[in-house]
Symmetry: C2
Subunit: 383 residues, 2 copies
């Protein structure tokens, strides 16, 4: 099923922007970090995709909660949570950091913001890293405070984002390097703005540090944005998959290690730093990954929504059907995010693919829940 | 808004019973522990409530994920996570255990199942206790394994549950004490069945330990259940509130301590056991709680769904409106779960209430999102 009713309650938290999002006629939500993430407005996903590539959109991504780590041992705790070598990290920098457990299983893939030598934010995907960080800090007796501050990111994405944001917040916006942040005057307050976002169209994220300003900030951007053809939006599935942007819980889980996810280049395996899971990760690296995240192109017309994974097999027989005269073909992957790309004229998806079949160009078969079997090929991403 | 579309993806996990739940025409889901919880079928919530009090229902509560803690230090880790004294806990017992952090803030309120001296399950509400427990274990260097086994609870609730379950699984079912579990023959496998559930109508939870058996187990119970007028259901909001069953994330969060939640009798404040947050909890106990979870009866006709909290004030003026000649009345609470009770002929809700107004019988005012103000009174629960 593509959609079903979502029952609301306090447990599934509203954001500082939910009032505005509802006023714009939001048609669907997802739940991330116990909070609402808008998933659809009036336009369909293709129309949204085309608009995002041409204009500018405003996205409520408050679900990217911040796990704040402050104190004398803050840098130590952050390093111990990730295989990425953070010794060269600079204040004002954003860094994509895989977080792993003792088995080198992926726990999250946040963006780390270094606010000071002793103050960090982890801008997290969907798992309670607050509890992980607190548990480690208490267990290790570290001198840190780990909390969730009142910070709600609002993303301004698309090719016109820079012009809009510069008009509102000054030339410092245009001067920001990719994955760098600065502090800007916003509604009479000082706010952190980063050049970042969950799209490949360019843009910014305003880490609003006062929920009470949510509607005022939205209106400020919306009013100035009308000249740029602004629309309310959300991470766009077509654009995200084409751009090779992964989603924790979809493309990978605790069952996957960072090497499989393609994060090998981010993993320090030497002796210079220490982190949880290093022993396990070194062993995995010595053997080499047994599967890798790959792009898959499949089919030539729109497929059903990927509400549950699509099996990927070596032959045309579906694993679950088993009715084919060819018998049960081997399952070598499962598409965890997939959608029709109007630009490419086929479906694009992402899947962990077993080593035996991960070479680019390998021909495979994809089974969608409408009972159809599609020809597919293994491809690099971004598509 | 009461309902909006929920976008499905692998990240929001299906359960072993989701196929059956969909076949029964589920109309809505919530998301708990990154997994689907059915929230509505064909009957409305009142009809469901009446049925639950008379017959038997089958509930997919797989979202009650198990955090399994095994090993020589398992008992130590479990004790360190809760202020409840577990020294007398017996194998085969279920125990309701508040979990708190270093500030005595509530992290979860699972049911603990003691499977052996060195093996426990925490059947959790909506937060990633797996990460908390793992972080503590690694940080403290404990000799335990913390994982999430393939266990999916299926609840059979209602006054006819015992007859149905006894018919299927034998007289041992009827012999089970409340909050006790046993191991039973189910579909040729050995499965854990507890006399427990998230209702006050009596019933059982089958902790199914093999996802592949989900549909077979559902069908087994459904087929035998037709003679008992079985229906698919889910935790019923009317019955839950009337019964005083709380919901983590709704009635309390990390911002609340166990004393405020009424868990004082479960908290050991002496020297016999040690746990995280004991110092903070002792300080809070010395001062005494400043607010307490209370029942509220309000209004005389159905109110809108409690998708966001209803402010509770000392006078009739709404805090947000501020237009009343009486000025801004003081906010002394917020109803976090509330619904019309057909049995009581009024709305029933739960709210933390400030000490100044927590006496039973205190008259207060409740503001619902339809702009109405209702007379309310502070009541004990269960109602």
């Amino acid at each position: 099923m593509g959609q079903a009713g979502l029952n609301m309650s306090r447990r599934i938290r509203r954001t500082p922007f939910t009032d505005r999002v509802e006023a714009h006629g939001v048609r669907g939500f997802s739940v991330v970090n116990h909070m609402l993430l808008p998933k659809a407005f009036e336009a369909d996903v293709e129309d949204d995709y085309l608009h995002l590539r041409q204009h500018v959109q405003i996205w409520d991504v408050s679900v990217q909660r911040q796990v704040q780590i402050i104190g004398p041992d803050a840098a130590r705790l952050v390093q111990i949570m990730t295989p990425r070598d953070l010794r060269g990290a600079e204040t004002g920098q954003c860094l994509y950091v895989p977080l792993i457990d003792q088995n080198a299983g992926m726990l999250n893939d946040p963006v780390l913001l270094k606010l000071a030598e002793d103050r960090f934010w982890l801008s997290i995907a969907d798992s309670d890293i607050l509890l992980w960080a607190r548990g480690l800090a208490i267990g290790m007796g570290l001198d840190v405070v780990v909390d969730e501050p009142d910070v709600s990111p609002l993303a301004i994405q698309g090719p016109k984002a820079q012009a809009l944001m510069t008009q509102l917040f000054g030339d410092g916006i245009a001067a920001l390097g990719h994955f760098r942040f600065g502090i800007f005057d916003v509604l009479g307050t000082r706010q952190l703005i980063a050049r970042s976002g969950y799209s490949k169209q360019g843009g910014y994220e305003i880490y609003l540090q006062d929920s009470a300003l949510g509607s005022a900030l939205w209106d400020l951007i919306w009013d100035a944005g009308t000249a740029y053809n602004i629309r309310p939006g959300c991470p766009n599935l077509i654009e995200r998959i084409e751009g090779g942007l992964m989603s924790y819980g979809n493309e990978f889980t605790r069952e996957n290690n960072p090497l499989e996810c393609g994060f090998g280049p981010l993993c320090h395996l030497g002796d210079a730093i220490d982190y949880i899971g290093k022993t396990a990760l070194r062993e995995l690296a010595a053997t080499g990954p047994q599967r890798m995240l790959r792009g898959i192109k499949f089919g030539d017309g729109p497929s059903p929504p990927c509400g549950e994974p699509f099996p990927v097999t070596t032959g045309p027989a579906s694993s679950s059907g088993g009715q084919s005269s060819a018998g049960r073909d081997e399952i070598v992957g499962q598409i965890t995010s997939g959608i029709y790309s109007p630009r490419l004229g086929c479906n694009v998806g992402m899947s962990m693919i077993e080593k035996t079949h991960w070479e680019f160009g390998t021909r495979l078969f994809v089974h969608t829940p409408d009972g159809k079997t599609h020809n597919g090929t293994v491809e690099p991403f971004p598509f």
